[in-house]
Subunit: 343 residues, 2 copies
């Protein structure tokens, strides 16, 4: 990969500073929820354990909020101006995780039981619905033009995210998904919300259209790279690091990019993979074999090349935005971090 490894401590510091700024706002948004839902939401975000005892807030990496804060800086504003956008994007992201876990029957996330596994399917659907709605409420509680534009942008991004999830589900019963179809699904499912995260601060700060649209393009490309790496980790990542069971994508007949690339490779490994995947459920041994076949058919290399190309396109979009050079540098550090992570 051409992507350089981040050698300094800048990204962990950016993420820690983001959490310090955004977490209190997330907590106070969650405080608006009814008690039955509040309990579930606090657990999901890691603010509480399953019995409601305070937790340390292991709720994800805060990448999206960090992008949101940076995008306000990109438009020449203080990061604080992006906080309602950072909160709203993080709420949408987390509602999608809660609902996706129900649909995928995933029992574990971030090394803990998922919401539906712990509280049941009904409370998980309700909690997701509540977070989705809370995202809009957070933005619309004050009707400044920035907030209204941000709410519309978020609704548009969520529409694409939901469409991507529908495509992802539909792909499970197919073995003929093309690479463009797969990339479109991933642009929708992951790219749209990262695109919104990367521009919502600029929208709230009243940034001009060029900055907003360039940052949105940066975020979309970053999202595609993010997803390509996520797909690789979903197949070859270590469960103890990723917090997800080994081979779950293959077991669930998902069609992430490496699998689709392998199936479309025209190689013998690709053909063997296709016949394995059309044979219903896979044993542990079959999952291991399928994993090797994806690799042999060039699926991993193809996904890495996609991530490389996307990061390059993201960098070009950032150049078009013409933003302060230190903000640009921190956007690129986050991009590097995302594409060199192992969880």
């Amino acid at each position: 990969m051409a992507i350089r490894l981040s050698t300094d401590r800048a990204v962990p510091e950016t993420l820690a500073a983001t959490r310090a700024l955004v977490e209190p706002a997330i907590r106070s948004a969650l405080d608006r929820l009814a008690p039955d839902i509040h309990r579930v939401a606090l657990y999901h975000f890691g603010f509480a354990d399953s019995d409601g005892r305070p937790g340390r807030g292991a709720g994800g990496k805060a990448l999206r909020p960090a992008l949101a804060l940076l995008s306000a800086e990109a438009a020449g504003a203080e990061p604080e101006q992006a906080i309602p956008g950072a909160v709203a994007v993080e709420l949408v992201h987390n509602y999608s995780l809660i609902h996706d876990d129900v649909m995928d029957r995933d029992r574990e996330r971030r090394h803990r039981p998922t919401v539906w596994a712990l509280f049941g399917v009904g409370p998980a659907i309700v909690a997701g619905d509540a977070l989705a709605n809370l995202a809009q409420e957070t933005l619309l509680e004050r009707a400044t033009s920035g907030r209204v534009r941000a709410a519309a942008a978020l609704a548009g991004a969520a529409a694409r995210m939901i469409a991507g999830q529908a495509q992802d589900l539909a792909f499970e019963s197919r073995v003929d998904v093309s690479i463009p179809e797969c990339l479109e699904m991933e642009a929708n499912k992951t790219g749209a919300l990262l695109s919104c995260a990367s521009s919502i601060g600029a929208i709230l700060a009243g940034g001009d259209d060029r900055v907003v649209s360039s940052l949105a393009e940066f975020g979309l490309r970053l999202g595609l790279a993010f997803q390509a790496i996520d797909d690789i980790l979903g197949i070859w990542g270590h469960p103890e690091v990723t917090g997800k069971p080994v081979g779950s994508d293959l077991r669930q007949h998902k069609q992430p990019l490496p699998v689709v690339a392998a199936l479309c490779s025209g190689t013998r490994a690709g053909t063997r993979l296709a016949s394995m995947l059309s044979n219903g459920s896979l044993s542990d041994q079959a999952v291991a074999e399928a994993t090797s076949l994806v690799e042999e058919a060039g699926g991993r290399v193809r996904a890495l090349a996609e991530a490389d190309a996307d990061i390059e396109a993201a960098r070009e979009a950032l150049d078009r935005a013409r933003i302060p050079s230190d903000t640009r540098a921190r956007f690129l550090e986050l991009a590097d971090f995302i594409t060199t992570r192992n969880s």
Copy 2:
């Protein structure tokens, strides 16, 4: 009951006129959905059958859209001005039906298989998410002050609706729900969205605060009456008319008002009912017996009295709104229709 029976054809005409005005707007909103979701949504609204062949659009009674259009008239505007609000409220109502059916495992609605029963749980969750989001998109696609206020009001109503659904779920594992708790749940679950429907047209038309808040109160009270009647139909209604299986509320250990009133009645029938309901799943015979006990303990009479009182309070709220007398008359006709229906 003190509620008079509607003797003329006014309500069916109002509803038909509403559908003629609102249905094309709902269809064109749905056309924005991705194909996989569009198909599911068209089925749910009755615009298509399970194979995608055009249907007649058996999607409910259009009560909420009718209230929305009337509320624009109440503020002195043309009903057309309420259309985006009518569409948005109907989208939220229908997303809640799709998700509720998943949670309640209800296999039939409006005499047809429910979305999850036909397409699966995943597509049902996604379709609900998509409709919820589409409601906000519909309002926010133009940022007039009326639309922004309407979007905020809708998000607030949806928050209460979701909280009510969480309470409804939590009640299933309890036999000690009090009447005030039950009424609060029903005000949230049903009242909040009817309140929004009854005022959103006035909001879009720029109506003054007195009109908006009086109509909102009217809708809340109407919602409580609506739910009380719904609860009665859920226990004593004929399945071939209601389109719902007989005794499903009791079977699912729901705590609708007649059941809660019976359990709180202090009667011997109430005590016997409590011991039956704490005994796990009910046979057909036990459902029939429990139904008689609810009646014997005064549950039906209590729910009817609640509906009467709510309609009276709704009427008083409408008087406070001081709106044109023909609009007032049509609001009251809808209220009568709602409380004298049998499905």
